[in-house]
Symmetry: C2
Subunit: 352 residues, 2 copies
C-alpha cells in the first residue's frame, strides 16, 4: 500500500492499493476519522459490485453503514440528485458528526462530496474512487459540484475529504474506454510535470503497476493544488489541453468523453503553441502516447465552431485566455493569448 | 450612520442608518468591494418597494444591476428556489467576480447568501436586511441555508458577506408583528449580554432610536460569533430560549412566529432554570419586557408534547442538552442537562 499526505488546511491521507475497500473500517480509525454512522453514496454501476463489501468493512469497524444508490451517469449529476442525497441523510437523521462515503467515479465523488459540504452546513466525507480517472484526478483537490442545464459544474463547493481510499483492484471491472479516459489525464500530468512518467505512457505497460501510477499522479496533482486550492494561479496549469478540449467535448454533444476530448485538446494546443512560437516542444511524442492508449488526436470540428464553444466556456474570463504550454517535457508555464487572437491559435492547432 | 467591523477571517463592515439603500454604489466602493455586475435577489414583498432604488444606486456607481424576485415566505425557502437563483445567475452568465445583493428579510438573506456560496463554488454577496429581525440577527454570522421537508436549515453553508447595509428606514413598512419578532431577539441579546439594553426594552421607546438599537445588537451578536463561526462554543449561548422555543414553534405548526416562540421559550427556560437551582435570576422582568413588546409568554402545549418536539430537534446531539442560563441580567453561561432529566426541566418551566 502507498500512502500520501495532502497538506491542505486540514491535511488528509490518500491510500492506494489493491483490495483496500475490504478494510475500510480500519483505515478510518487509522486516519483518526472514526464515525458512528456512515452513508455510502454509490451508483447503479458500482453499488452492486462493492457497496456491500464497504458496508461490511465499516460495520466490522463499529461504524453503522447505510447505502444510498443514485442513477449512474453524468446526466444525473444534477441538483435533483444532490437534494435526494441530502434528504436521505435527513430522513435517516444523520448529524454533522457522521460521515459520507463516496463510492464510485468522479460523478459520484463530486455529488456526494457536495452533499457532505452542505448537509447541516458541512460534514466529513471519505472518497473511494473506483475509476482510474477519479483516482488520479478528482480525488485530490477538494472540488465538488453538480451541473446545471446552463453549464457543467455550475454550483459546488470547495470541500476537502477526510481520507481518500483508492482500491486499484476496482479498475479490473472498468471498460477499456474508461481506462483510456484515465490515461488521458495521466499523460497530461506527465507532460506538464514528469518526463519519466511521460516516457512510460508511450506504451500500455504502465497498466501492470497501477498502484505506482496512481500514487505518482496524486503526488503531481498535489503539487499543483496545494497553496492554490481556489484555482487562482499554478493550479490553472492542470488545464493543459482543456481550453480546446472543453470546446471539442461540448461540440460533440458529450458523445466524446472528457478524456478523449482532452487528448485532442492537448495535441491541438501543443501544435498551435509550437507554430506560433509560444513553445519549442513538438507534439509528435504526445500523438504517439495518446494513440498507444487508444485516444483520438484530431477532430472534424472547424476552428470557427470550436472558437464559438471555447468563447462560451471562457466568457467568464477577462479579455485574455490563459493557456498552459510546455517549456520542455515535464515542465509547463502559463501564457496569455488575447481573445481576438484565439481563432488564429485554434486554426494553428489543426492539420497534422 | 453607524459602522461596525466584523472581524471574521475575511473582515467586513456593517453599515446602519436611515436611507442607506439610495447610495449602495458608494458603499460598495468604500468597502473595497466594487463589482461590474450585481444580481439583486429580493422577494415579492420587498422587491416592489426597494429593488429599483437599489438597482439605480448600483448603476450610478458603475455596477450593472439585474433584479431577480422570488416568492415571499418561509415556505419558499427551498432547494427549488435556491436552484432558481443559481440558474438565473448562469443564464445571465454571471462570473465568480460578480456580486449578489440580498435585499429582504432573513429568508431572502439565507437563500441568496447560500446561492452565492455555491454558484461557481463561491462568489461575493452583500446583505441588505429590510426587517428588524434580520438586521439584528441574520446579517451577522455567515450562516446561510434552505429548508428541506425533513427540517429547517438542513442544507447550507458558512459564507460571510462582503458588506452589510442596513437601511433602518425600511422598518417603517414592516407590520407591527414583524417588529415584535425583532424585539424578541433583541431582548434575548440584552438578557445574555447587556443589562442596560434590557432595561431599555421594558417599554417600546427603543423604537425611536432604531440605528442605535441595531448597532448595539450587531455588536452583541459579533461578540458571540467571532472566534466561533462554526458554532462549537460560546455561539451556542445565542440559543437562549431556543431549545424550548423551537419545540413550541414546531408544535404550533409554525403558526407562531420564530420571535413569538423564542419569547415563550425564554420565559420557560428561565423559570425552569430558577426552579431547578441552575440560575438565581427571576423571570418576572423578562415577562414584563416581552409583554411590553406584544410578545406571548406562555403556551398551551403540554410538557410531554414539547419534549417530543425538543427531542426530535435535538436528536443530533449527544446524551446531554446544552442550555443557556442567566448568571445575572446581561451575563449568561452554558449548562448541560441530561436528556433523561429534560422532561422535568420542561415541566418546571410551565405554570406562572
Amino acid at each position: 500500500m502507498k500512502e500520501l499526505l495532502i497538506n491542505t488546511d486540514e491535511p488528509y491521507r490518500v491510500l492506494v492499493g489493491r483490495g483496500l475497500l475490504r478494510d475500510m473500517g480500519q483505515w478510518l480509525r487509522a486516519a483518526g476519522a472514526p464515525a458512528a454512522r456512515a452513508l455510502i453514496v454509490t451508483d447503479t454501476h458500482v453499488g452492486p459490485l462493492y457497496a456491500q463489501t464497504v458496508a461490511d468493512a465499516l460495520s466490522a469497524g463499529d461504524c453503522a453503514a447505510d447505502i444510498f444508490t443514485v442513477p449512474a451517469g453524468e446526466e444525473y449529476k444534477t441538483p435533483e440528485t444532490l437534494i435526494s442525497i441530502c434528504r436521505e441523510l435527513a430522513r435517516l437523521e444523520y448529524t454533522r458528526r457522521d460521515l459520507v462515503v463516496a463510492l464510485g467515479g468522479g460523478v459520484v465523488g463530486d455529488m456526494a462530496g457536495f452533499a457532505s459540504a452542505v448537509y447541516q452546513r458541512g460534514m466529513r466525507f471519505v472518497q473511494c474512487p473506483t475509476t482510474l480517472l477519479s483516482a488520479v484526478d478528482a480525488s485530490v483537490g477538494g472540488k465538488t459540484a453538480v451541473d446545471l442545464p446552463e453549464g457543467k459544474n455550475m454550483i459546488g463547493a470547495f470541500h476537502q475529504p477526510s481520507l481518500v481510499v483508492c482500491d486499484t483492484g476496482t479498475f479490473a471491472t472498468l471498460p477499456p474506454q474508461r481506462m483510456s479516459d484515465g490515461a488521458a489525464e495521466i499523460i497530461k500530468h506527465a507532460a506538464i510535470a514528469d518526463e519519466a512518467l511521460f516516457a512510460q505512457m508511450r506504451s500500455e505497460d504502465w497498466q501492470r503497476t497501477p498502484d505506482d501510477i496512481v500514487a505518482r499522479n496524486v503526488a503531481i496533482k498535489r503539487s499543483f493544488v496545494i497553496g492554490d486550492e481556489r484555482d487562482q494561479g499554478k493550479r490553472q496549469m492542470l488545464n493543459f489541453g482543456h481550453t480546446i478540449g472543453h470546446a471539442v467535448e461540448a461540440w460533440s454533444g458529450y458523445t466524446l468523453s472528457h478524456g478523449q476530448s482532452v487528448a485532442i485538446g492537448m495535441v491541438m494546443e501543443m501544435r498551435a503553441a509550437r507554430r506560433l512560437g509560444l513553445s519549442g516542444v513538438h507534439e509528435a511524442p504526445m500523438v504517439e502516447a495518446l494513440r498507444a492508449n487508444h485516444l483520438p488526436v484530431s477532430t472534424e470540428a472547424t476552428p470557427e465552431v470550436l472558437l464559438r464553444y471555447a468563447l462560451h466556456d471562457k466568457k467568464r474570463q477577462q479579455r485574455q485566455i490563459s493557456l498552459t504550454v510546455l517549456r520542455e517535457w515535464g515542465k509547463a508555464e502559463l501564457v496569455s493569448v488575447e481573445l481576438d487572437d484565439f481563432l488564429r491559435f485554434i486554426e494553428a492547432g489543426g492539420g497534422a
